[in-house]
Each structure stands twice: as C-alpha cells, then as structure tokens.
Symmetry: C2
Subunit: 343 residues, 2 copies
C-alpha cells in the first residue's frame, strides 16, 4: 500500500503546477467560464441544467488552460482586442465535454469526476442529445473566428476523436491487442484534443507554421503521456483523488497499457485469468487484488510510466522553439511534475 | 382500406416530383455522391462500412437536392468554378445522417428506410460514435467555405436540432402535450435542417439578404409540412412505402399530431385508452386498429393534413421572390404534389 500513498502525494505536485497555470491566466479562465455559461443558455431548462452539471462539475479545465497559456506563451492576449483565444478555449472545452457525455454512454459509466455521471442521472438518450448540443455549440463558437484553418483543425480533431473511440470499442475487452493499436486509440481519443488545444492557442496569435508545429508536438506528446499516466493511476491512486473507484478500468474490462503489458508478460495460467476477468468479464471479489498483484509482478505500472516519460521528454523539447518566459517555465514545470507523478 | 391505397398512389406523385428535381440536377447529385464517398473514407474499415450502410442505403437525398436546386434557382452552379453548393449539400446530408443515427439510438428503432437500423446491426455504442464521426465530417466540409456565416448557420441549425429532439424526449409518450409544443419539436428536429438546406443553396451564390430570407421561409415551411405529412402517413401508408411498419409511431408511443388531436378530441373513456396505450405503452394486439378508428372518428389525419397545407401555402408564396425558371417550376410542383399527397 505504500506505493499508493506515495503516488497520491506526487499527484499533488501535478495539481500545484496546474494551479500555477491557473493563477497565471486567472482572468482568461474567468472569461472562459463566463462565456461557457452564456453559451449554455438554452430555451430548454433541462439542457441548461445538464450542461451546467457536466461542464461546471469541477473539471480542471486543463485543455482550455493549455490554449490560453500557449497564446500567452507566444505573446498574444495582452492587448484589449486580443480575445480570440477565449472563444477557442471554450470551444475546446465544449468538444471535450461533449465527448465525455458520449463516452459515458459508450462506457456505461456510473461516475464522472466523483459525481454521478449524466447518463446515470438523466439516462443515455438525453446524454446523447445534450452531447450533440454541446458539440454544436463548439462549432458555433468557432464561427466567430476568421480563420478557416482553425475550423479545419477542430473538425479534423473531432473526426480523430471518434475514430479513436471507435477503434477502442472495436477492441473492447480484448487484452491481446498490441501496444501499437493502443497508441492509435489514445492518440485519437485523448492526444488529438490536447494537440488541438495547444495549436489553436498559437493560431489565435497567427504564429509561424513551424511554431504551430512546435505547439502541436507539445500538445500531442503531453496528451499521450497524460492518458498513459491516467491509465496507470487507475491501478494505484485512490478513488477520491480521481473521482472514480480504484480499479474502475479493471471492473469495466477496459484495455489500457498496464493490462496489455501484463497480458503479454503473463504465463499460460495467468493469461487464463486475464481472459476470464477481462475478456469474459467474469470477475470475483478477489480478482482486483490479483490483477494488481500480476501488474506489479511484471512491473507494468513502472513500464507504463516509462513510456509516458518518453513522450514527456519529447513534449519538453518541443517547447525549445519558444523564448523563456513565465508561461514556458510554468509549462515545463507541468511536464516535470507529470514526470514526478510517475517516478 | 380504400383510403390507404389512395394515399399510396398520391404518394407516387410526390416521388415523381422528387425524381424531376433529381433529373434537373443529376450531375450535381452525382458530384455530391462522389464527394460523400470520398469523405467517408476512414482508416478504420468499420466506420466506412457503417457510414456506407446508412448514407448509401437508399435515402432520397431530399435535403441536398433542395440545396443544389436553390442554388440553381438563383443562377448559381452553371459555371465550372461554381461548386460551393456541392460541398454544402454534402454537409447537410452528413448532418442529417448523423442525426438519424443518434435518433435511432434514442428511439430504439429497429428499422430505417426498410433496412435494419445501424443500432440494430452494430449496437448503440457504435451508432453514437459513428454519428459523431459523420457530424464532424459535416463541419470538415464546411471548413472549405470562405463564409463564416455559413458555419454559423449550420452550427446554429445543429443546436436547434438537438434542442428539438431533447424537447421531444422530455415529452416522451405524453399524449396531453399541446400542439404548440409539438410545433416547437418539429421546427427543431426537422424544419431547421430543411431551412438550412435551402438557405445555404442561396448563400453559396451570395444572394441578397431578402432572397436568403425567402429561401429560409420556403425551407422552414416546407420542412414543417414534410414532417406533418410523414406523421400522418404513419397511420395510413403501407410499411413498404415508407420503409417502416404501419403504426410504428403508435407502437413506440411516439407523440405526433394525429395522436395529439385524437387525445384532445377523445371522451373520458377514449382518453383512458390513449393513456394506457401511449403513456404506459401497455398495448394489446387489437389496439393499433382501435387507435386508427379513433383517429379517423375525429378526422385527425385530415386535420393534420390541413395544418400541413397551411405551411405548404406559405412555402409556395415565399418562392414569389424568385424569377420563373425550370427550378422554380419544379419546386412549385413538389409543393403541389405534397398538397395532393395529403388531400
């Protein structure tokens, strides 16, 4: 159990870095929140209620925070008329939230961020439709922007997200998939939106193509690492911390890297255990402990974290194009504390 | 039974009008189909398969057909470089198809256009995600357009569609809702996309604001009538004709105008029948016949059609702004044959 406690403490360093970013862009986040509330207004009270529930239920706004931080990193957002990044950050958050609502339907989740998920309260049908509503609102926000490149990027991103999620669904409960397929899945479902979030921050500022590519590389690699760490934490952190129960992924038969590695490294008898518990979802009370035992036996958390570390290194280097300022320092700290979180 | 047969025959006049529109814009529809196929290409074979199933399964392409017809009505699309309407028409069809996929999940439909619905074949989860994929593809298509007004219109339209569908879900199986609520529902879920389809046809051609409004009025009113007629036909036409079973709406407890009127006009004992069959969905074998009996007793089909006729009249007049050409004549014929379909 000592490992669990240690991870939790380190997780706090990560939260501190996020808080630092929040502090640097407090005004922008306030503006984003005001804009989000305004856009959630609907003729239909239930939509407002649900959208408020999900979008205001304590998400850390990491993606929009990255958008405004990247804008400010390149010197945009300090003049009064420089407000493009606010709308774009809100659009990114809307896409993220729409995705979460549809995800919860697809995953049949009961909890989200420590609260009942919207599909649990209002049912799957409503979640599908309110997700569509939020998704449309994202594109409505983009329509204020002049650049058709931004629209192209965000619609391409949405396509990638669906593709990643469909690929995940196609390999549902199959512990024998290879790492390559897993990376395709998380590239689509997670990294693509991080990548778009950081890129649009730069695009609002009309920076050069090569700097745009720099922000893209930062977002993509940070996003992959973020998902890897999230997947590792599911087998080590406490439910309260993540707003979900320990071993949620295991109980759902969700295929993440710790499971993929554990399966690949297991002996014949252990492989049978994975097939029964993950593939057939035939689980007994003691199976979660057994799964964590096997995952630890084969160092699967450490190695998942090693993979994450690789992507964080790339994310760090991709910021090399940008001049040193407080935003860059805060982003580097975020990366470093993600590293710590997984050491 | 004679009424049923008569409606079917008249339904053919409507099909003939659609065929005439198709003939006038054969090249454009071919181009739209080629573009749709190209855009359906995905790294993931299943997406291609499903998207092909739903988007190529014999829909009549009425909405994109209205888009290109409206473009040509105002003189656009005859020069080689005038191709904006093709992409917009495809975008409209993608939004329509995405909506259908999510609808089928929400309605738990088993059939769509005479074939098994996608949720029936591939499951709800896949249908939610492939719907998202198609929706994103629509916005991807719009990103080629220069006008941010078009993006604004189509994202607003998507918002209205979700709002209409959520409002419908909120009043699910409640035969006591009033006509006003019903019109809000069909305005959102059906008329808004017809309205956008006709409007973007004009916007591609950069026509004046007042002509845009004319096309909007045409689309909106034609769309409302289209839905009213569809709802009426469900109690009168054959399953084969509509690609669904007679009385599908009744069996699902779906609230449409024939039911709303029948409930309002029913006596206390009959009102109990509606509550049992629609609200509680407690249906016996003979209940469908009884429902049709009551609907006919109170002239609910005729009166639903009367309402439709009102909107078709407005649709017809709104074309008064445009000069007489073969496209206008074909649209007027479509309206007229919609009238006939319901007389």
């Amino acid at each position: 159990m000592s490992k669990v406690i240690q991870l939790e403490k380190k997780n706090n360093d990560f939260s501190t870095s996020v808080d630092k970013l929040l502090k640097l862009s407090k005004k922008e986040i306030d503006d984003i929140n005001i804009l989000i509330l305004k856009k959630l207004d609907s003729k239909i009270p239930l939509i407002k209620e649900i959208a408020n529930h999900i979008i205001l239920s304590g998400g850390k706004r990491l993606r929009p925070l990255l958008t405004v931080t990247c804008s400010k990193l390149v010197g945009y957002g300090f003049k009064k008329n420089e407000t493009n990044h606010i709308g774009l950050a809100a659009a990114v958050e809307f896409i993220h939230t729409a995705t979460l609502m549809h995800d919860d339907v697809v995953d049949e989740s009961k909890m989200r961020r420590g609260k009942l998920s919207s599909n649990e309260i209002w049912g799957n049908k409503t979640s599908v439709l309110v997700g569509d509503f939020l998704f449309s609102k994202a594109f409505d926000l983009i329509s204020n922007q002049e650049s058709s490149e931004i629209l192209k990027l965000l619609s391409d991103t949405s396509i990638e997200i669906s593709e990643g999620e469909i690929l995940e669904l196609l390999n549902d409960k199959d512990p024998t998939i290879n790492e390559d397929t897993y990376f395709k899945v998380i590239n689509g479902k997670t990294a693509s939106l991080f990548s778009a979030a950081t890129q649009v921050g730069g695009m609002a500022a009309n920076i050069s193509k090569s700097k745009q590519e720099g922000l893209k590389a930062f977002g993509t690699n940070f996003g992959i690492a973020f998902q890897l760490i999230d997947d590792a934490l599911d087998y080590s952190s406490s439910a309260k911390k993540l707003g979900k129960n320990v071993g949620d992924d295991f109980k759902e038969g969700k295929i993440t890297l710790p499971i993929i590695l554990a399966y690949l490294r297991s002996n014949t008898e252990e492989k049978k255990f994975w097939k029964r518990t993950i593939k057939n979802l035939n689980q007994k009370k003691e199976d979660l402990s057994r799964s964590i035992e096997l995952i630890n036996k084969y160092n699967c958390i450490e190695d998942t974290m090693k993979r994450a570390s690789h992507f964080l290194d790339i994310a760090e280097d991709s910021l090399g194009l940008f001049e040193n300022n407080e935003y860059k320092i805060a982003l580097l700290e975020l990366i470093e504390n993600s590293q710590k979180r997984i050491n």
